[in-house]
């Protein structure tokens, strides 16, 4: 590892590479491109599928659905997860819902509207053709999930229920209480289990991918470590599909699970794949605030709560102080002394503005000194108005004349409990406060990463035969993802896109014999993997892996968090380089290589975050505009709204990693079907 310590002039080091070809089919209008492409693309015949091996890494919504569907089609699939079971993947924690352009509510939804909302929500930084395809197949996902037995919420008539999410004006979100991700993942896990039981998928639990193997320029396999025994294995296949999730844990504190990591993706980047738009990170506005420096993760409170919760801070500083000191609580502040700042600033969308907008508004309120907990970093999310509204409506439907306040409250709380019960319980368990009677205190937290591996229309990276699905790729959400669209994208990629598009690569491979796993390329990759692990074990320094991860997280949050500026990004980059150098000199990993060793697993992952973090800083510095989750302080309107620069930055930044000089490759984005506008939710 070479690290230059006296490194200052960041921007001069960015070299520009060649343009990228996105392989969006020329034929057809936006509306029928995908149908036409699907109908004319090359296929692999059933007898040939049996002879083709596919590796799928990851078993979240994208990975499990892909592995199951490819197995159903007759391919030989090997599927890998670092978890003890495919069912534990972090998709399981998604709460609020999944979007689909079903228009069951007859409220004006359509494929085009979902496409348009997603493009606009992403601040015009995503690829039109991919997003339209996503909106098209969204409808099939709901059908498939229901057929699998996913218990989505229903109305009394027995038909499916919907709710609203941020950044849209229709109700297109399907849900299963606050456990939508869990139920959809179990659906995909069951489909995967079925393919395992019939032998179409060979499942490798507790195996972590540590390298990608390329043979003649094509992705032909992976190197894994058996997390129980430490054994390093070589797995060969005709192609490799990564569905390994996002990299939010680079910030240490995030709503991601503790094990979520970038290692599979990053090691592929180090083998030549490109990392696209790494600076586009989503900071979710409604999470439980940080309470102390021992904290290990942050807990999300679903966006669905903003259907009924109103966000506010006190108007008067003396009320703020009284609340911070515990002399008052939210309920003591009279209506006229509250600032419902989202409703005030964005009357058209109110509390349901997109996540990036809501998060920045919370930050502004707290920066101005209106934060409502002891750290000054929290705002209220209040359900009192919803309780009264629902209570009155229930009283009428139950025929109660002149209900008392108590009756209204009880009836209203019962409705709120039916909608959000598990979220309220979760909040109460963590904070010890009862949100049925006290407004919740919430603050933004890192939640999702729109950036990811660069892929073309086929979801293939620039490395032939290497595909990336779900949160691991960059393709559909531009600079900001709308709520309830992550589940949609993961399942769209896995069930309805990759099973077709993988054929474009594999149809040319039907004469390729079984790939040998003992070629020089495999042996070299295995050796390098082992040496890297040995190097980590042999440092025998003085500080834990966790301590480095925490320090990295603080740098990332401070300089590449909710708002960024050139000076901070340069400083942050330098700090990361120094921290990386220190890590490789002074980290301490207990235990040994050839045993169950969670600290060693973590060490490898943090080592990769220490490189990715620098790439994020470089990307954020290059992008001299504010768009979606990327807010550059230098580029804002007088009212503090984000200002895009469409003339110079309507491109995808795809980075080729190099320790000293990351190289920027650009994919120009073309908008033929929507007009680029300043996003307004006012």
């Amino acid at each position: 590892m070479t690290v230059e310590n006296n490194f200052t002039e960041t921007e001069t080091l960015v070299k520009e590479g060649t343009g990228l070809k996105n392989n969006v089919p020329e034929a057809g209008d936006l509306e029928n491109k995908w149908t036409q492409y699907r109908s004319t693309m090359d296929l692999v015949a059933p007898n040939n599928k049996r002879r083709i091996d596919i590796i799928v890494v990851g078993t979240g919504l994208a990975g499990a659905s892909a592995a199951a569907t490819l197995g159903e089609l007759g391919y030989n699939v090997k599927c890998f997860t670092f978890h003890d079971s495919p069912r534990r993947a972090h998709s399981i924690a998604a709460q609020g819902g999944i979007n689909a352009a079903k228009n069951y509510q007859n409220d004006g939804d359509s494929v085009y509207r979902l496409f348009y909302d997603t493009i606009k929500g992403g601040d015009y930084r995503s690829r039109e053709a991919n997003v339209h395809r996503l909106a098209e197949v969204s409808r099939n996902i709901i059908d498939q999930a229901v057929a699998q037995g996913v218990p989505l919420a229903r109305e009394y008539g027995g038909l499916l229920a919907n709710r609203s999410f941020g950044g849209v004006q229709v109700s297109r979100t399907f849900y299963a209480k606050g456990q939508t991700g869990q139920q959809l993942l179990i659906g995909a896990y069951q489909a995967l289990s079925r393919q395992i039981s019939v032998g179409n998928v060979e499942m490798y639990n507790r195996h972590e991918m540590l390298d990608l193997v390329k043979v003649d320029g094509k992705a032909r396999g992976i190197i894994t470590r058996n997390l129980l025994t430490g054994k390093i294995d070589r797995h060969a296949a005709h192609c490799v599909v990564l569905a390994t999730g996002g990299y939010g844990n680079v910030y240490y504190l995030s709503t991601n699970a503790m094990g979520s990591n970038v290692t599979a993706a990053w090691r592929s980047v180090k083998r030549g794949a490109l990392m696209a738009n790494p600076c586009y990170t989503q900071i979710h506005p409604t999470c439980i605030p940080v309470s102390g420096d021992y904290q290990s993760k942050l807990t999300l409170m679903s966006e669905s709560l903003r259907n009924d919760g109103r966000v506010w801070v006190p108007k008067k500083k003396e009320d703020v102080m009284a609340i911070r000191e515990g002399r008052k609580n939210g309920n003591d502040i009279p209506e006229e002394d509250r600032d419902y700042y989202l409703e005030r600033r964005y009357p058209a969308f109110g509390n349901l503005v997109p996540r990036d907008v809501a998060s920045r508004a919370a930050k502004t309120a707290c920066d101005e000194g209106y934060g409502v907990n002891s750290t000054g970093l929290a705002v209220f999310l209040d359900f009192a108005a919803a309780v009264i509204r629902y209570g009155k409506s229930e009283a009428i439907s139950k025929g109660i004349n002149n209900p008392t306040d108590q009756q209204i409250g009880d009836l209203g709380r019962a409705v709120v409990a039916a909608k959000y019960g598990n979220l309220f319980e979760m909040y109460e368990k963590i904070t010890g406060e009862d949100p049925y009677f006290q407004p919740m205190k919430i603050f933004p937290a890192v939640h999702y990463t729109m950036g990811g591996m660069w892929v073309d229309y086929n979801l293939e990276t620039n490395v032939p035969g290497l595909f990336a699905l779900g949160e691991a790729n960059f393709s559909d959400h531009g600079a900001n993802r709308l709520g309830a669209s992550a589940l949609m994208q993961g399942l769209a990629d896995g069930y309805f896109v990759i099973p077709y598009t993988i054929g474009q690569f594999l149809s040319k491979e039907i004469r390729t014999p079984k790939i040998a796993n003992d070629s020089p390329e495999f042996m070299a990759a295995e050796k390098e993997t082992r040496e890297k692990l040995e190097k980590l074990m042999n440092i025998k320094g003085n500080h834990s892996v966790e301590s480095f991860h925490k320090r990295l997280g603080l740098i990332m949050w401070e300089y590449c968090g909710m708002s960024r500026n050139a000076e901070g990004l340069k400083k942050g980059r330098q700090m990361i380089r120094e921290l990386r150098e220190e890590f490789w000199r002074d980290v301490y990993v207990p235990g040994s290589l050839d045993e169950y060793n969670p600290e060693l697993e973590k060490a490898g992952r943090v080592a990769d975050f220490l490189e990715l973090g620098e790439n994020m800083m470089v990307d954020a510095l290059d992008r001299e505009e504010s768009c979606g989750g990327h807010f550059r302080e230098e580029h804002q309107s007088a009212e503090g709204e984000a200002q895009r620069n469409d003339k110079d930055y309507t491109y995808v930044s795809a980075w080729e990693w190099d320790d000293n000089e990351p190289i920027l490759h650009k994919e120009q984005l073309e908008f033929k079907n929507v007009e680029l506008k300043t996003r307004s939710y006012k």
Binding site: A93, A147, G149, G292, M426
Partner: protein, 250 residues
């Protein structure tokens, strides 16, 4: 924020063949920490002393992935009803407490290290038939079959299982009946799942037996300890289905 001085009695076992023993540790926590964050503090301390940290399984830390386990003071997932270990907070303990922490113990869940056990038997029970056989692309419109709201809710309640294995750890016979019956109930309630219902029951129960889980002990400890409060009614209904099938002629 006042400090809590705690004594921990933790099960340490180096692999399935090691005999295992309790180790005593001291740790300083505070009431805002989660139980797992308290163990993080202990492990940071152990790593700084270059001793072996305590291995435990965990991931989402918000009560949904089912990775965390542990028996805390004799109870799977600790003292609170409807709560996973990761959602348990230290305000439920007090300064000076001694806390005993053990793995989920069952023959079908061999210990991997310390508090980490192998629960892959659950995956194999699902693989035996815990699914609806529908290939991608075969589905009709999602609203084609209306499902009564209460029926959908019953299916949901059973489907809320997170596959953690607390039911097995709680049962004197280490039975997996609550886990298996919850999946059978989830799918069996729904019209889509009824087609394969009888076969599913037979195959999943057979796999459960093959994995070495015990008979239902009828103590209902599983329901009491289940962090998702899955009902033992599911077991009764599985028994009815299973026995009914034995007497049915094909």
């Amino acid at each position: 924020m006042s400090d809590m001085n705690l004594k921990l009695k933790v099960w340490k076992q180096n692999g399935p063949n090691d005999k295992g023993r309790f180790e005593n540790y001291k740790v300083v926590a505070n009431e805002h920490m989660s139980f797992l964050e308290m163990l993080d503090v202990l492990n940071e301390q152990l790593i700084s002393e270059k001793s072996d940290p305590v291995s435990f399984e965990h991931d989402c830390r918000e009560g949904i992935c089912g990775a965390c386990s542990m028996v805390i003071n004799g109870r799977p997932h600790g003292p609170n009803k409807g709560t996973t270990t990761c959602q348990l907070h230290m305000r439920f303990f007090k300064d000076g407490d001694t806390i005993t922490i053990e793995p989920f113990r069952a023959n079908s869940f061999p210990v991997i290290k310390d508090l980490v056990v192998d629960r892959s038997a659950f995956d194999r029970i699902i693989q035996a038939g815990g699914y609806i056989s529908v290939n991608t692309g075969q589905a009709q419109d999602a609203n084609a079959i209306p499902i009564e709201k209460d029926v959908a809710l019953d299916a949901f309640s059973a489907a809320a299982c997170i596959g953690c294995g607390a039911c097995v750890a709680a049962c004197p016979n280490a039975s997996a009946m609550l886990f298996t019956s919850a999946k059978v109930a989830h799918l069996g309630h729904l019209p889509q799942g009824k087609v394969e219902h009888d076969k599913r029951v037979q195959k999943m129960v057979a796999q459960m037996d093959e994995e070495g889980f015990g008979m239902c002990s009828n103590t209902y400890a599983c329901e009491a300890e289940c962090p998702k409060e899955i009902s033992v009614k599911n077991i009764a209904s599985l028994n009815r289905n299973f026995i009914g099938k034995v007497f049915k002629t094909e």
